[in-house]
Symmetry: C2
């Protein structure tokens, strides 16, 4: 969702979505060469692509990949999903064979605070009510696989504990696709002998779970089962890892994901095909849609536009250092989304002053964008900045922004996709096409660290080259955990840093472009199935809470099935 | 699933299901007058029926309703689902316009101990892999609505507790569709101020939740929202009920069920249309598929065969005293399923002796069947006993069974649907048709108690007329709760007794036909949204545990997606 601040009356996202005339998804799929037989329909407007179909694609060449990222988000909204969708529609208008690859929304934010994740205004994926609510059931299947595993672990201990699992060292957590602070820290197994072994437990939101990460990095059923088998769920009394393979349930858990693994296809308001599949958050997880969906889109379309969550410090970094390395893919160009309003907030303007012009604030906040531009350059990638226009932006502000970009030789386009759909993103699309199709423009894509570097070196590389910080400080616990990681020979894995999305630093209050800061790593968690080491920078919550007035309070469905309050 | 004990090699249920040539569900739906437009497809072989379509049906006359119930189940298997499916196929073979109305399987038993719930042998509903695993996501939607509500309750307290909820008197529990003993008794909200209020909590299996019961008793979206609004989630500091309406989230919770509420249509191996919708257990819940599915089937078909869970003491009693009263429907005839093997177990033969003929055991165990026959007669309903033949049954045993039935004037048919599909149920189907179409045969259906009777009188009526017991004993807690129920003016609700399925009494070891026993009601729970009072007879677990070797250990899916180990 995007809230475009304006005095005129605009239709709400759901009103626009409900007025849209959707095409049958079979028609949309035809555009990219899929027949009805390649699809498993979920109603008329959603489908999954069969794995048999995907198996036939591997010899085809890849299309061009455009990654959309942004500055650090603020409550003012940067509209990254909206620009992503609008850019896809703009490429479509230019006659390109284009697809989107996006993440599935989580019900936690939908019911809680943020609303859904389908874009906004005239740049939306539809049917947004369905995509935002259960969709094709993938997140529920992932939740179920996650919790079935938890239950198998506790049952193993209850039934004699042949593997000698140390119940104080179980690292596998339960999960729900919900915002529920009361489940963050719990004690389970109470009530005596027949009701389990009492122990401390924690629920994560599904989007933060390793099962979600595995799901999003698996290339096919075989790879999925192998990754699940490799999950380290606990340590035994001798401090040796206990895996899912040891428990013997990798087959059953993979079976629970047999349908979820098939990428989902939907459409934009302008009939651009979109794969929406997998949904890890980018702050507490790796933040990109499934590798399978991205790779499938690259085989089916000439241009694929994909989005990584939050700012380039989180989603894009993980996309480039984790997903691209794992999947042997690389973007042909990057879009960095910024808004005047968000930059003003980064420049020190307060939230309730944002409706007033502030050239000074804009100039000060521009530094946040510059840092993200430097990051994308550090990865060796060509890019365009997209200024997502809000109707309250003044001419003077936009001119200032343009001048700042010119001064620093930063290519940019003004986009108005929220109001105009694909028509509002034509210039951006044209710039990207000219970059991508111009053999003169260099693309020296490379990750920011090598797998053989130590965990500490990898952390430092991200902190210095991406966050613009100076040092990494490890807690005593983190130091001990790194020693364990080395002992277990997991140091070759990339790092997946869980950090606040609001700041380049680990302090959400440091807006703009903080410098000379230190990132404190409190704790590390090897996600051996996913194949990365999660590093927690500061007090990151892996289970969000609900606000005082949850979005749910405004939601309703009337007798005829008409929906209100989703956004 | 049914395990038919035999020396010959038979194909497994999943092998039979995988060999079956399914028809597109669109074709199946055509048989009952539904067009492709009335369906929302979930793949090629599953669909939901649109609520718009269902709205057009209300003026049509109802078809005939056949309820399938059974003796008390034993580990020997009575094959009630198999007979239900086979009977539907037999009526189909007789040229009747017939549909099935069945419950959705829960993943708890599927992964745990019991296997799925799609029938067995050549009397199955398909695609069984899908129906047994996630299906169209209904149970996950119900789980999510259940847990979203729990989260809203705890968040309300966390955010100031305007409604003055007494956190010691929250009766709404969390739920998962999983077997997980470690979640039976837990403490949540630990970890300090920002992580909720510490309190005792419990997870139920979704099939036992009030949200599932509400889902299965709602007639449409409006009724669903009203029932959800009426849920009593807790009591406040003055011991007054706090409802979902007080929390203001009935709209959001109904929205979460907007697709789940549409009945699912699939097919049998012989192409009989089957609605599979809603899945409460019959021991710890009310045990029948959704009222909406049953009523829809009655409008679309001339004959509807439906099943209530476990024995007639549980599923059928609740079907007749709760669901039929609520929905103003009544069965035209009842089938009581029995097997020689299960009757021998009821007659004292041990499990490992069942392969040997035992006329004495059979005669002794027959008393269990007689009690269930008396129960169905007490409801004023015509019936036929179906002897579900296992290949190990001897000729002498079957003759003895026939003689016992003749002596007592109990109409019965031998069914062989597991081995022969619908062909094995023709005689049963013909008997039922002749009963139903014969105006001479009386049908004096009536519930066993009136709504104006007291809760204690209602409990006693079920114990005496259905279980064949003598008394009801109330714990001190139950007595206090009945006083509260009266004070809150909820005594007009029917009772939904949670009791072991293995015995007519509350002691699972008392097989056969126990007499002169007392049923102890430990606790009562008003399910104000569902509209009944749950009464717990003895130590009933509302969250099952996993066995030492869960069924999951044998499950697998290979690289090509072929599945093993589901049954």
């Amino acid at each position: 969702m995007t809230l475009q601040n304006d005095s005129k009356h605009y239709l709400s996202d759901i009103e626009i979505a409900q007025q849209a005339k959707l095409q049958p998804i079979v028609k949309i799929a035809e555009k990219i060469g899929l027949s009805a037989n390649d699809l498993e329909l979920y109603g008329k407007y959603k489908a999954k692509i069969s794995l048999e179909m995907i198996d036939t694609l591997h010899k085809r060449p890849n299309g061009k990949l455009i990654l959309v990222t942004s500055i650090n988000p603020t409550p003012a909204g940067e509209g990254k999903s909206t620009v992503t969708v609008g850019l896809g529609d703009a490429l479509n208008r230019l006659g390109k064979n284009v697809m989107l690859a996006l993440r599935e929304p989580s019900l936690g934010p939908t019911m809680g605070i943020k609303g859904g994740a389908c874009g906004g205004g005239y740049a939306q994926v539809v049917p947004m009510e369905d995509i935002n609510l259960h969709f094709t059931g993938d997140l529920h299947a992932i939740t179920t696989a996650n919790n079935a595993l938890a239950s198998f672990i506790d049952n193993h201990i209850q039934q004699g504990n042949l593997l000698q699992i140390d119940s104080r060292k179980i690292i596998w957590k339960r999960a729900l696709d919900i915002n529920d602070r009361a489940l963050r820290n719990i004690v389970i197994g109470l009530g005596g002998k027949s009701n389990g072994i009492p122990r401390e437990e924690h629920f994560d939101i599904t989007a933060a779970s390793e099962m979600m990460a595995i799901f999003c990095l698996a290339e096919n059923l075989t790879d999925l089962k192998e990754r699940i088998a490799n999950i380290v769920v606990a340590y035994n009394m001798e401090n040796k890892p206990v895996t899912v393979k040891d428990l013997g349930v990798e087959g059953a858990l993979t079976l629970l994901l047999k349908d979820a693994i098939k990428p989902n296809i939907v459409q934009t308001l302008e009939y651009t095909p979109a794969l929406i599949h997998g949904g890890p958050f980018a702050n507490i997880a790796h933040g990109c849609n499934s590798l399978l969906a991205t790779k499938t889109a690259l085989k089916l379309a000439d241009y694929v536009v994909t989005e990584a969550g939050f700012g380039a410090d989180l989603g894009a970094e993980k996309f480039l250092d984790i997903k691209c390395q794992k999947g042997d893919i690389s973007p042909n160009a990057v879009v960095i989304v910024a808004t005047i309003r968000a930059l003003k907030l980064h420049g020190g303007v307060s939230l309730n002053e944002l409706n007033f012009e502030s050239i000074e604030g804009l100039k000060a906040g521009y530094a946040n964008l510059v840092k993200h531009v430097e990051t994308i350059k550090a990865f060796g990638l060509p890019y365009v900045v997209a200024l997502n226009r809000f109707s309250g932006d003044t001419g003077q502000e936009i001119e200032t922004f343009a001048a700042l970009c010119q001064e620093q030789n930063i290519p940019f386009s003004l986009t108005e996709v929220w109001e105009k759909g694909g028509a509002g993103g034509i210039e951006l699309a044209e710039k990207l096409v000219s970059i991508i199709e111009n053999p003169q423009i260099e693309n020296n894509f490379h990750p920011l660290y090598a797998s053989e570097q130590s965990i500490e070196e990898k952390l430092l590389a991200v902190v210095q080259k991406v966050y613009g910080g100076k040092n990494v400080e490890l807690s005593a616990l983190a130091r001990k955990q790194i020693a364990d990681i080395e002992k277990n020979e997991w140091s070759h894995f990339p790092v997946c840093i869980a950090k606040t999305q609001y700041s380049l630093s680990d302090d959400p209050k440091k807006l703009g472009r903080p410098e000379n800061f230190t990132i404190t790593i409190r704790e590390l968690k090897p996600s051996v199935g996913a194949g990365f080491i999660v590093a927690y920078a500061g007090e990151m919550l892996t289970m969000p809470g609900l606000p005082k007035k949850p979005a749910a309070l405004n939601m309703d469905i009337d007798d005829s099935g008409k929906i209100k309050g989703l956004f």
